[in-house]
């Protein structure tokens, strides 16, 4: 039999593939379809949070922060419930990260607040003495790029059927409205105003009132939604 395999390289390759892939197949395939569905309660990002997510990616927060709480007691004690696959269903790409220079952020919305983030991003050492996280003062003046965020939302809605403008939990109400760009922008401005007020910084409130959303506000909206 082995002589036969040696003389037929194609079938030999198939055999090798089956043997090597076997363990992977039985571990991954049976559960995959189920695990990759959104968990109950998962909702796509609204416009402001999506814009904040883009800021997060742009400034490479994922180089120092993970978003993946492993099922170990030491981690769940500090960060809360371990992460589930389906929680990342609307993350494109996911931001698990691979290095924790700073703490995990997957549930940071549970234990930090808008004003804390504003203080911390302006000057980390003002709240955490000795912090080595860089300050992100430019985010307080840079204006968020809502157009790109809207384009992303519309694309995933059309291409991947992400449930924007749909009733996800079956209570008869639309869960995450998107609509036209103007509608979405008005909604984002309202959300932004609330967060700007929570940060207690007048400059941010004024910018939002003038129709411009500072990057920091979008970022805080994103962080507050990480739960």
């Amino acid at each position: 039999m082995f002589g036969w395999l040696e003389r037929n390289p194609f079938f030999f390759a198939v055999g090798v593939f089956v043997v090597i892939a076997f363990a992977g197949l039985i571990e991954i395939v049976p559960d995959f379809a189920q695990q990759s569905r959104p968990v109950a309660g998962a909702k796509p990002y609204d416009l402001l949070r999506l814009a904040g997510r883009q800021v997060y990616i742009k400034d490479s927060c994922n180089a120092c922060h993970s978003q993946l709480i492993r099922p170990f007691k030491i981690e769940t004690d500090r960060y809360g419930m371990y992460s589930l696959n389906g929680e990342y269903a609307y993350d494109r790409p996911f931001l698990w990260g691979s290095k924790r220079t700073g703490p995990d952020l997957h549930r940071v919305g549970n234990y930090r607040t808008s004003d804390w983030h504003a203080n911390h991003m302006w000057d980390p050492t003002s709240v955490v003495p000795g912090s080595i996280m860089p300050a992100y003062k430019h985010m307080f003046t840079n204006v968020t790029d809502l157009e790109t965020a809207y384009a992303e939302a519309l694309t995933v809605k059309k291409v991947f059927n992400v449930p924007y403008d749909k009733d996800i939990d079956g209570d008869g109400k639309i869960d995450v409205p998107l609509g036209s760009f103007e509608e979405a922008k008005q909604r984002a401005l309202q959300d932004a105003l609330k967060i700007a007020q929570e940060t207690k910084r007048k400059d941010l409130v004024e910018m939002v009132k003038a129709g411009k959303i500072p990057e920091i506000v979008a970022l805080i909206a994103y962080l507050n939604g990480l739960k």
Partner: protein, 280 residues
């Protein structure tokens, strides 16, 4: 030859000698085989560009082991390894359970020092980013926990807006008396009581009198909250810490997030003890 008296060194030397002898012996054997050995045996039919191969059956022991492994593999796949037998989450749950049991039995009756030590640890990890390492609230960014009420305006706000000043008009902290109604006092009266309470129930006769008439029915004549019916206004007792940790709070300083399910009962008591120790 001092180093030879050490038996580890002796053993190492012995081992080195053995390895050397074996190496030389094996090398010599193969040299001899290369020089004198002759190939014998039956050739297989197939050959590759004129290079043939002997028929060379695998040793019996090896074959048996190989077949045995295949049988074991089938058994393991079908019987020994039911797909649901192991789960990472299951292991996690067991780990947490056994840890929790150990934790609870170890700290069933913590001494005061234990509580303070544990409380300081919890505080530094969970609370210090907002309340500051020294618990003074980082220049007004959060509650100064070294004193019960920092500012008169805080108390005044509660008198004016009642429970709504704590984040929820329906009684958010979860005390037995439920909610505190808004507008119990106003104007100079409210000022006087607020000053009295914020000063730690000292001085200010008018405030003291008004407190007895307007507030004592719920907060107790001494302001200590009648054993958890309403918040203790004089010090951070255990109930107030655990109520705040359970429900969070939203006052004029800002938002205190809820820590529901994140700390054990003992840890709550410990952090309360630690916070109290700061104002002593």
């Amino acid at each position: 030859m001092n180093w030879l008296s050490d038996n580890v060194n002796q053993l190492a030397l012995l081992g080195a000698a053995a390895i050397l002898i074996l190496t030389i012996g094996v090398a010599a054997k193969y040299f001899k085989q290369i020089k004198e050995g002759k190939s014998e045996g039956e050739l297989k039919e197939e050959n590759w560009d004129g290079i043939g191969e002997y028929k060379n059956n695998s040793p019996i022991g090896w074959s048996l082991a190989f077949i045995g492994t295949i049988i074991w593999g089938v058994w393991y796949w079908l019987v020994g390894y039911p797909l649901n037998a192991y789960s990472q989450i299951g292991e996690y749950n067991e780990e947490v359970k056994s840890y929790q049991a150990k934790f609870e039995s170890k700290w069933a009756n913590p001494s005061k020092e234990d509580l303070l030590g544990m409380g300081e640890g919890v505080f530094l990890v969970q609370c210090s980013p907002c309340h500051g390492i020294d618990a003074t609230g980082i220049e007004g960014k959060a509650q100064d926990l070294t004193r019960r009420f920092v500012s008169k305006s805080q108390v005044l706000d509660v008198i004016k807006r009642g429970s709504a000043a704590l984040g929820n008009p329906n009684g958010q902290l979860g005390y037995q008396l439920g909610m505190m109604p808004p507008g119990l006092l106003s104007g100079a009266d409210a000022e006087a009581v607020a000053t009295y309470v914020a000063n730690g129930f000292k001085g200010n006769n008018k405030g003291a009198e008004l407190f007895q008439s307007a507030c004592a029915s719920c907060h107790g004549p001494d302001g200590r909250g009648m054993n958890g019916m309403a918040p203790n206004l004089r010090e951070y007792d255990d109930p107030i810490i655990s109520h705040v940790l359970q429900h969070g709070k939203q006052g004029i300083i800002g938002i205190m997030p809820s820590f529901k399910g994140r700390l054990t009962k003992v840890q709550e008591r410990a952090v309360a003890a630690y916070i109290r120790s700061l104002s002593e």
